[in-house]
Assembly symmetry: C2
Homo-oligomer: 728 residues x 2
């Protein structure tokens, strides 16, 4: 079917392409520019957005222009300057169209003249080390972003320029740059990856403006125009059917930028392609799934390489929210985010959103939901499950990851989880080891410790077997596999669960993790019950880390603290980055409590004789002090088959303002496995306030309507569905 | 003079005392209660405050009452329960007066009956270890707070109670408790300390209600009624003439509570004492100086033992702000804070503030200022200097401390500083090692590490000589001395300075620290120049720590990092709590940069061959993991006379949202001492953007009008006043 659709699209393309005679007609169209100009002074948020643009460009006009020869890597002067330059040209182009003031056009022409002078003479960038190098920038990625912006500036002043200038810029800049991307960065160009989207968007937009049909076709269908790569293939392969982006929440933010920019350009140039309808409105689903993979503070839950500072306030989402708002159902939830952005894109959809914000109608907040997203183009490569409870002001959120590897930014972290509460991370994912654009930190690139620590399995809240990372840290092998969703259910807000299996990351070891959110009137907040079953025919060392954030308060077991000398947890696979702070010998049920903000958190686990609990701190083997020195603890068991059962409980109150502390001990006292085989796992949980629960899991049959019955020591346990709880 | 005033007061006292026939007449008076009742429904903030009180007490009425036998320390059940009980009685008492509903009175009576049952049988609290024990509580302090609240509840239902009950409560609770305080906690009762204020307030209020003139007199003039101790002596001795409280900002918050409660009670019972006028309106000055010792986020700058979570939103300041608002000039700045409290005290002044918030007049924000406060009752024991620059949203604030020891909560930290920017701490003071009311952490008391680390000199941003703390860590010796203000000037907002000397904390070593805030158009933000002169006749090891907060980015010198094994910085005086992370051999000018939030910070210092720079992390010798694992670095010099010159510069931008980084290197390149003797210090400072400054300090003559002239290598340097700068 897909091939058929693509054929139809190809026909449509041939009939409509190169109809563009109007300029500009990329993101900003001529008609929209007229509309925006006519609205001046009457639409506050558009006015504000234009004012900011004017201030930005006026500052450029009042300062010396510089188009330096490329020299520095990310964060360095020439790098930042070329970024500044494309932003200035892009913004000046729009202002020229909106105001008609020639100074803006002249500014772009002057700058393009400088680029035209040396661009054809450049070889690849001197700092282009690890990444695919560009010519202006150390990585071609930045160069595609340069083109994507600059071609819009050029489009805006196209009709104002003389033919000679146009010929100069096209022959000395745009064509050579586009050809460089297609012919010398072919691997990137045909990549099913966000870098591929940037590059095809830039080339395709160039094609529309300068009338190069081949650029547009290659952008849409790949350098060989087979449809195996290019923009449509990216839309097919990078998103699951429900819009989840395989690289995860952090990168989708970045990827949505070129996806939406180019979609809008296609929409404006080839309406009959119906790009916003493509693949059952995949672009709309992509935005909503990206928004759902944030916590209530707007931060993207850090999956894979992710900088935690990034929120949905990022510039990239200004376009995506505006365009989805305009091209689908005018969902007023999106207006609540646009309001937070406090700016709109200088485009037709931006104008519509700004106008609709003026209506005297309520603007509902964005609704975060408990939801499962599938991964993989067919939706059959595992996914992520998100359980949520509570108001936006103070929401418990748990994300469990069980999808595919996630391309080059993927981590070896199948079955990991992160947990949020009180508006922040409580059990964290490290994210990426990188200081974006900070020259002193390896030029702002990913740091060595990103590979040696952040990507390794032990950096995550998931099982490590024999101190090895999943798939022995081999990305190719990891990409051949994915974990599998076992079941997900959030229908009952007081009893939600997510469960997944993973059988490939460690040879001969099967993993099955189930995380259950249980609310109960005896608790302050819902607790998470974490049941991690491991089966193997041979004995292994199993480590389960928990990277808690906050201050250690208490453990119910003795430990030996290393108070005057410290050593490392290991030599490889990320263990060399962990300081060993203490080693504990837990009793039959271990409890560890920490304080974060105004609440206590405890993890109570089914430890037994022979288990160990290590207290760790990130930061070993780190000569440049690149890592954050965050705490964690690791429960270690040696066994063939085993099961880690842990209850994560937020509890009590620590109120320094009212000098008030309550319930700093966990409610839970004992967690016990009373049955565990391939078919069924039954857990008993006891706590104060007469808590006496039985959690029952069917391990092979996840059918909602199946009934189960297990007899243990004369007691019958019966339930239906994969997971159930009895509160006695 | 003071003796004379006290004599007059004593006469006034005798004539007016025991006039109280009306009940209630402590903080809430009968007349004010009538006023509040009449206002119901028309004064929103008072209504809200009452609603909260009603909810609180209704919850108590609907749940089982418990008056347990004392057992637990701070944070434990019986401790928290008795706290809950006095709050419930206190609030119920007020509600009884406001509503006339008997259920409230009955609730108090029932609870008092339970206390009356066992209070006379109690001996001192089983957990009363380090602190002076009470009977209901592990420290008598909590017990005085119990009495201070409960006597108000009793006052509110006084007229409703039968004589027999009154006799019972007085003979079985109030009199024995007050007598216990006077006779068995005499040391505390006569203490010039906030604990002393709580105890005299509780006893004095009891005296007013039950007509025990001796209690009131002892409360005002001490257990021996000589005036050497008691409330008035506390007002004389705990505050400097400008209202600065000798224990510092954190404790003044707590101390202001009983000071204002008792002041209000005295005001209501003995108007002729003119307590709010006492000592040139010292109570008013006390509040304003407390408010000035906060940062713009409302947090008290942590001097001495201080928990950083405390802000001016603390309950204690609800009373103080209300009463100062009502009894002085109705300063509408205070209303801005009361608005943030979002509640008022249930009292006459609370009603006035709530009403005035309704007026259609602007409410100006509180104005933080650059200011120096003197320390000591006569204002001659040094003090603290605060330099500020910038808006409330993003203010640089530097506090330097050079006062007296600060009683039992004092730290050995003379000449230390803390620095804030971006709404948070950037160079921190550790504060106290304590988890308030957290049972698992030594019952919520001060932890061992508070003495062994937090109080020690090396825990602060000030000089450590020979790895010893100031005064060898001996509090008695420290209390005999104080540092001295040398000069303070904030008239020119672009060139502010504070300078102080300290000659007693290390035998034979004289210290003179000058901190200058310099603003310049070439800088992003004002820089701090820190000139720390040390003179001695013998050679010493001089360590100057900087506890920066943020992530280490860069140093311009080579260092040896301890990547696989770590050891401690020393064995004693707090050094045993510092991990040695690296040791650096700096060149003639060392630079160290870190990132905090969206800004970079660098410290550039005049190091030279032979100096060392240690990278440290707090957390060694800490078997219970009580300390925060925060970073720092220590510059070490070995010399007799020496000088540390450091520039602390906030610079650049790290904007992850816009993916934009700028100026991550410091503007400053070189700092050089070109002259330094007992009379003059001259520093040359060079940086990019043609920065070429000369800072000149007169070390002996701080007269503003003096002129100075120094000839060095043929160049004349002339200036007037103690400190000046030439920008070339």
């Amino acid at each position: 079917m897909k091939a058929y659709i693509k054929l139809l699209l190809l026909i449509a393309l041939n009939s409509s392409l190169m109809a563009q005679k109007t300029h500009p007609n990329l993101v900003l169209t001529y008609n929209d520019a007229v509309q925006i100009t006519n609205s001046l002074g009457s639409v506050p948020l558009m006015d504000k957005s234009i004012d900011e643009a004017v201030k930005f460009v006026e500052n450029a006009l009042n300062n010396p222009m510089d188009v330096p020869l490329p020299k520095d890597a990310g964060g360095g002067y020439t790098h930042e300057r070329h970024k500044q330059n494309y932003n200035e040209m892009y913004t000046a182009g729009i202002l020229y169209k909106l105001t008609g003031e020639e100074k803006y056009a002249l500014f772009i022409k002057t700058m393009l003249d400088k680029y035209a002078l040396f661009y054809p003479t450049l070889s690849t960038h001197p700092e282009g080390k690890r990444q695919t190098p560009g010519k202006l920038f150390w990585q071609s990625l930045n160069e595609t972003v340069w083109l994507l912006h600059t071609i819009q500036a050029y489009d805006c002043i196209y009709n104002w320029l003389g033919d000679e200038d146009k010929a100069k810029y096209e022959t000395r800049i745009f064509v050579p740059m586009a050809d460089f991307f297609i012919n010398e960065c072919t691997h990137e160009f045909d990549l099913i990856h966000n870098h591929g989207t940037w590059i095809v968007a830039a080339v395709g937009m160039t094609g529309y403006v300068i009338g190069r049909e081949d650029y547009v076709k290659k952008a849409l269908y790949g350098s060989k125009m087979t449809g195996e790569s290019g923009f449509l293939a990216q839309l097919d392969k990078l998103f699951s059917p429900d819009g989840y982006y395989t690289e995860g929440g952090y990168y989708v933010r970045y990827a949505l930028w070129p996806f939406f920019i180019f979609a809008e350009v296609i929409h404006n140039n080839q309406k009959d392609l119906k790009i916003y309808e493509y693949r059952n409105q995949i672009l709309k689903k992509a935005l909503y799934s990206a928004l759902q993979v944030t916590y209530t503070n707007g931060e993207f839950i850090p999956i894979n390489d992710a900088l935690k500072e990034k929120t949905w306030l990022s510039e990239e989402l200004v376009y995506a929210t505006n365009f989805v708002y305009a091209h689908y159902e005018h969902d007023r939830q999106l207006l609540s985010i646009i309001k937070l952005h406090d700016k709109v894109s200088l485009s037709g959809p931006g104008l519509m959103a700004a106008k609709d914000l003026m209506k005297d109608e309520p603007i509902p907040n964005f609704k975060w939901q408990s939801v499962q997203f599938t991964d993989g183009p067919e939706g059959d490569m595992g996914g992520v499950g998100i359980l949520r409870y509570g108001s936006v002001e103070d929401q418990e959120t748990l994300l469990m990851k069980y999808g595919s590897h996630g391309l080059s930014h993927g981590h070896f972290d199948k079955l990991t989880f992160t947990f949020y509460d009180q508006g922040r991370e409580i059990v964290q994912d490290y994210g990426a080891a990188r200081f974006l654009n900070v020259v002193q930190k390896f030029g702002g690139r990913y740091l060595d410790e990103n590979d040696s620590y952040a990507k390794q399995t032990v950096a995550h809240n998931t099982l490590v077997v024999d101190e090895q990372s999943q798939f022995e840290g081999n990305r190719r092998r990891s990409e051949e596999h994915h974990a599998d969703s076992y079941c997900f259910n959030a229908e009952d807000i007081n009893f939600q669960y997510v469960s997944a299996k993973e059988n490939n990351s460690y040879k001969g070891v099967s993993q099955h993790r189930t995380m259950v959110l249980v609310n109960d009137e005896k608790l302050y907040r819902p607790a998470i019950i974490d049941v991690f079953r491991i089966t193997s025919e041979t004995e292994h060392q199993y480590d389960l880390p928990f990277y808690y954030l906050g201050h250690f308060i208490y453990s119910n077991f003795e430990y030996e603290p290393f108070t005057s000398a410290r050593s490392l947890m290991g030599k490889n696979n990320g263990y060399e980055h962990l300081w060993k702070e203490a080693v504990g010998i837990p009793g039959k049920c271990s409890e560890l409590t920490w304080l974060n903000g105004e609440r206590f958190y405890s993890i109570i686990s089914n430890t037994e004789a022979g288990d160990q609990v290590y207290f760790t701190r990130i930061g070993g083997s780190d000569p440049s002090f690149n890592l954050r020195n965050d705490p964690g603890f690791i429960i270690r068991k040696k066994a063939a088959n085993t099961i880690f059962v842990s209850i994560l409980e937020p509890h009590g109150v620590f109120d320094p303002t009212l000098e008030f502390t309550k319930d700093s001990y966990s409610t839970f006292k004992e967690v016990k496995v009373i049955h565990n085989n391939d078919n069924y796992t039954i857990i008993s949980i006891e706590g104060s306030k007469n808590i006496n629960w039985i959690l029952m899991i069917s391990n092979q049959d996840s059918d909602k309507s199946s009934s189960h019955k297990v007899k243990i020591a004369g007691t019958d346990y019966t339930w239906s569905g994969p997971i159930s709880i009895i509160k006695q």
